[in-house]
Amino acid sequence: MGTITALPREVLIKGGMLYDPITRESRKGDVAIKNGRLTEPGEIGADKAKVIDARGCIITHGFIDIHAHFREPGREDKETLATGSQAALAGGFTRVCVMPNTDPPIDGPEGVRFILERSEDLPVAIHPVGAVTKGQRGKELAELLEMKAAGAVAFSDDGEPVQDGQMLRRALYYTRDLGVPVINHAEDVRLRAGGVMNEGALSTRLGLPGNPALAEASMIYRDLLLAEDTGSRLHVPHVSTALSVDLVRHFKERGVTITAEASPHHLGLTDEAVRDFDTHAKVAPPLRSEGDRQAVAGGLRDGTLDCIATDHAPHTVEDKEQDLIQAPFGMIGLESAFGMAHTTLGQMGLSTEQVIDLLTSGPARVMGLELTPLEPGETAELVVLAPDEEWTFTREDIHSRSRNTPMLGMTFTGRVRATISRGSWFTCR
């Protein structure tokens, strides 16, 4: 629950702890914002300023999500850049990289410019990801250089893997000097077959087509070999299996410059969520076994995986009230990301600061984005977190246009109290 409004002229965040993910230092102190910029607390009138009581809270850099689907253009009934931005802000995010599997896909500079123009005045910064191939069909290389020049921060055919190894190899060579990653949704579609959930004891019980862990791992293995071969930047999205974590670790040890992400739902849920044939738990790659879940969390803990990314994938009610075979893959994730990640990684022994790193400096490094320093004079790009607050995730917490998530009713530890970004703020009731 919470509201998104224009940022007051003066805001004072009192009594909290400031954590800077750039320097990785914490200090006690009030944070003052005047006209959207950080300033010294003495610079604002204590009586006029809006005051946030931040006792017990951590104030830090706004989160960065490098993997979201905002469905504009083409499926504005599921999400738009505007509604997605609201969801992002409510989740503590101030920047979002949007995937190009829209209708039409973002596969040229016009599309990239469209996204940037449409998001100019939004409360979060939107960074477009361009398609690797024209129409995301995997047949012809898209205009990667023009898209980069227009502002694309990465390339991906996400939603569908680049099946053709030669195509991906060419894309990697072609982008080697650009310094931006190619992101390949890693699943061998033939091995995945018609899998709608993780292949395991539960899929066997339910008689549902299973998607084996090796469908992901074998594709990741191929992609990592291509990254090593080309020397280009490859980023592995939504790693979901223990096998995949091992592979990424192995190639990092070999010195290959790869990065990888994990999604909150793979940290906090297992295939048990599909037990009652819940289409909201149908996601690609699927929710896996408890062993996989722990391995992915372990990968974030030891640095094998670089960041958390939501894979926020809105779908309509009608889409998700179909049966499990017909319903599309994906769940929304922005509003629940911090709660879910902080809760499950906290149980694995990670500190709140480490979780913050995985949502700020980690994703920034992957995408080559600069964090905004938490210094007077800089733009206020902040999130206020209550790390000890227990809360139950409900429909009222959802700001997305869609509400497809299996997490409703879950209790999390750690909540976003406020987000300040680009002249707007979200405050939690």
């Binding site: 899929s203 066997t204 008689g207 549902l208 044939f277 009230e321 017909q326």
Partner: protein
């Protein structure tokens, strides 16, 4: 003495159904079996109860068996059959659910190609839901009639050694048999081509053995699954010849085993593929008993899910509304 009752509201699968409930369903099945042997086979148990048979997948046998069971119990029966085409036209589950709701049916017997569809239906309608086969998930009344046939033949299920032969991966019959038989204390071994045995099947409490002759030596009874012709068209099973020689229940193969292994088949049979005609029609087969037991055990299921409520003096499921 009061009638034994079951703790189930719906019959969606045999997974999780208690041994006691299965026992009651089978025992009542045997009582109805006697009714079916009488000259007048109809009882008034479900008079005034409306049942719809909703078949989204062709299955003459199961539909007729349910229909017969319903009519023998004097229920009002409505049939709705729609091929997969109506599903692809977008007749989604939601519409089905709402239609059932609007029609104020007391019970829905549903066959649907998607696993879990009957479970989803049960979440949204007031009616009792009976799963007549949901994709590759479960076919609980088939599991019950198979157990009834075994019980009839051996007088027990506990400790019985049962082989399930064929395409385990795509078989709802296999799953319902496994869940039911394991609950009842039987031992189950699955046997078939390696790629049609799900890799995690052992976690359901069964043994896996790819050698049909070893399974026949071990088993008291084998349940022979139908091999779908599509598996051959897809190139998943190389040939009838190879399947028959490696996994087929042939006369020569049975002759090599001294023991009289009881043969079950859920039908419809591919004679000459998974089972020889001579075997299917021979003394070891109980395939026709299965058909009769199917009607009896479906009567039992309908009786327990729909009948006892009224005999206990509770109000009818849908009292007449004042207008």
């Amino acid at each position: 003495m009061s009638e034994p009752t079951v703790s189930l509201r719906h019959l969606l699968g045999l997974e999780g159904v208690s041994a006691q409930d299965i026992q009651v369903l089978l025992e009542t099945g045997f009582s109805f079996r006697e009714v079916l042997e009488r000259p007048i086979k109809k009882v008034p148990t479900l008079t005034g109860i409306s049942v719809v048979n909703l078949f989204f997948e062709g299955s003459t046998r199961t539909r007729i068996s349910f229909e017969l069971a319903e009519k023998r119990l004097s229920a009002d029966v409505t049939n709705f059959s729609a091929g997969a085409s109506s599903l692809s036209k977008g007749e989604g589950l939601k519409d089905t659910i709402q239609n059932i709701h609007a029609m104020k049916m007391d019970a829905v017997v549903m066959r649907h190609p998607v696993p879990g569809s009957t479970w989803q239906l049960s979440q949204f309608v007031d009616a009792v839901v009976i799963n007549a086969g949901d994709g590759t998930h479960e076919h609980p009344t088939q599991g019950l009639l198979d157990m009834m046939s075994l019980q009839e033949k051996f007088g027990r299920l506990k400790g019985l050694k049962v082989g399930i032969i064929g395409d385990i991966a795509h078989s709802r019959v296999a799953r319902s048999n496994i869940f039911g038989l394991i609950t009842m204390g039987a031992e189950v071994t699955v046997c078939g081509p390696g790629h049609l045995i799900p890799p995690y099947i052992g976690e359901l409490g069964v043994a896996v053995n790819g050698d049909i002759d070893e399974v026949l030596t071990w088993a008291d009874a084998v349940n022979v699954l139908r091999i779908q012709r599509e598996r051959m068209a897809d190139g998943i099973i190389p040939s009838v010849r190879e399947y028959r020689s490696r996994f087929g229940i042939t006369n020569e193969r049975l002759a090599r085993h001294r023991k009289e292994v009881v043969i079950l088949h859920p039908g419809p049979m591919n004679r000459g593929v998974e089972i020889d005609s001579d075997v299917a029609d021979g003394d070891q087969a109980v395939i026709l008993d299965q058909v009769l037991n199917g009607v009896a055990v479906r009567m039992s299921v309908l009786f327990h899910l729909l009948g006892p409520r009224e005999s206990e003096g509770e109000p009818p499921l849908h009292p007449e509304e004042e207008t």
